[in-house]
């Protein structure tokens, strides 16, 4: 495992032991998941719809309590009663649709909502709002605006800012690029990359976009049928198309092109255009 992915770090931030989760209608959404996540990683959860990615994310955040097994976030057991306040300071969850997460009358109140839940005084709250909004690129001029009437990209930034104001060590973002054009997608992903690389947040994204995974993630968890099918670095995971097929996932096109040219000596774990060019040039 490569060290840049944080795999060799012993600094565990999330420990999942024998996690099983059943919905109230009896549907077993997750079954016996055992996995650890380390500080500073950029992780992507991939898999087809209904495989349990979002449910797993909500379990990590403590929104869903494990039916069996245990999840420790920075040593805190998510199943404990009244653990929510401590938990949210360690792990934040940005929902797929920002409209589900915005319920205040102004952008300022929206970002201040979570710190106020932590019973901070108004001065501390303001400080957090200013920092979170600055990092997220939400200008102070928007503070009095109603969040619902802003464009989607901005609403998403406000949703992320509203989580950043909690200063969580881990941020889970559910489908950050869904419904956004290329420019907006890149902006959101660059922003998450900055949070990861410059501010040291552990980032977990849930996504279906393999190009985004190849470009930004360092570690990939492939889920299928409520279980972890495989887990490794991006190169390791995408180098195994047969395994990915079980989860109805295909590697990015550039990887598939390299795999198709394997008989010509191309590596099967190419994940970027630049890498492909390098390999091409070395052969021409």
């Amino acid at each position: 495992m490569e060290s840049e992915a944080g795999f060799l770090s012993t600094d565990k931030i999330i420990e999942v032991k024998g996690l099983t989760y059943c919905y109230s209608d009896g549907t077993k959404a997750l079954e016996d998941i055992n996995i650890d996540f380390y500080k500073g990683q950029f992780i992507a959860f991939i898999g087809q719809n209904g495989c349990g990615k979002t449910t797993f994310s909500k379990c990590l955040n403590g929104i869903f309590k494990p039916t069996e097994g245990k999840i420790l976030v920075n040593g805190l057991d998510t199943a404990l009663p009244r653990i929510n306040k401590q938990l949210v300071e360690n792990i934040g969850y940005v929902f797929q649709n920002p409209d589900h997460q915005l319920f205040n009358n102004s952008v300022y109140d929206e970002i201040a909502y979570a710190p106020r839940n932590l019973k901070l005084n108004e001065e501390q709250v303001r400080e957090r709002v200013l920092v979170a909004s600055k990092i997220s690129g939400v200008s102070e001029g928007l503070f009095e605006e109603h969040p619902f009437f802003l464009v989607k990209g901005l609403r998403q930034r406000i949703a992320i800012a509203s989580i950043l104001s909690l200063k969580p060590r881990v941020i889970i973002v559910d489908e950050p690029t869904t419904g956004q054009d290329y420019k907006q997608s890149i902006e959101v992903m660059e922003f998450l990359k900055m949070l990861n690389e410059e501010l040291g947040h552990t980032i977990i994204i849930v996504t279906h976009e393999m190009d985004i995974v190849a470009q930004y993630a360092k570690r990939v968890v492939v889920m299928n049928d409520g279980k972890v099918l495989t887990d490794g670095t991006v190169k390791e995971v995408f180098a195994n198309p047969e395994l990915l097929e079980q989860a109805n996932v295909k590697p990015p096109q550039i990887t598939r092109l390299a795999q198709a040219l394997k008989s010509y000596g191309f590596k099967n774990n190419v994940i970027s255009f630049d890498e492909m060019c390098e390999q091409w040039e070395s052969r021409v």
């Binding site: 209608d25 549907t27 409209d99």
Partner: protein
Amino acid sequence: MAVERKMQKTIIGFVPYQSPIYALHPLVRLVIFLVTGFIPLFVEIPEVNILFLIAIIGLFIYSKVDLKKLKMYMPMVFTVGLFIFVTYLFFPIAKGEKILLYQLGAVKLYYNSIMWATCIYFRIIALLFASIFYFSTNRERDMLIAFRSLKMPFVATYFLGLSLRATGIFMEDYQIIREAEQARGLDVSDLSFVGKIKHFSMYMIPLFTLSIRRCEEISVGLYSKGTVISNKIDGRKRPDYLMSKNPVTQKDIFYSAAIVLFFLAFCSLQVFGGVFSLDNSPINIAILKLLKGG
């Protein structure tokens, strides 16, 4: 994922996957609902309504409804009780003989008022459980079949279907918003009662905004599919898939008629004979006897 599921998610809640009550046509189930929904209105005796309640719970068990799901209604059961008893405490009724039980300043606790509150409470709870039973054993599709079997106009059932769908989406959004609040450190148990009420109003902003956006999407979707709100297409009756799959048989009509006749007979006992009046309540009679020292 292959699992053994006992309950099936519907737009409104959960229904059992398999249940003996599904042997009855949706029309018969609707008639049962209407009858069980009206019976408590004709009953004043709390004991009878408690027996009725037990019968409804028996129906839950017979129909294989997961009784754990009823836990979510418990706060409502207590809140309704609290409101009714407090109302009758501060605004006592004039009906019946006034027997003062206790006085604290200007607040007087009259027996007849408390007894009447008990009667109203069990009546409402019986009604509530009868409604929960219907929605716990009928999917939206069953409701539409039942209403169309009653020859309700197509337009009305169409709007009913859309309304049920909207209700389900509204509740799903509500659930997600609650999760989003939890993800931002809100612990509702920390809030006072007034705080909880104020807090509830906060949900309205995203819920209504989402609803308006969804309404527009659904309207555009219906328009783009050339939807005509009529049960006739080019002058001919629109084919009805639901009814073709679930025709009403003579057996269903017989069952429905029998239930309605039972209901009419039951109501007659109260309307013409006052059989279920509070004056005939054995508990009421016994307590009155005790209070009057006889």
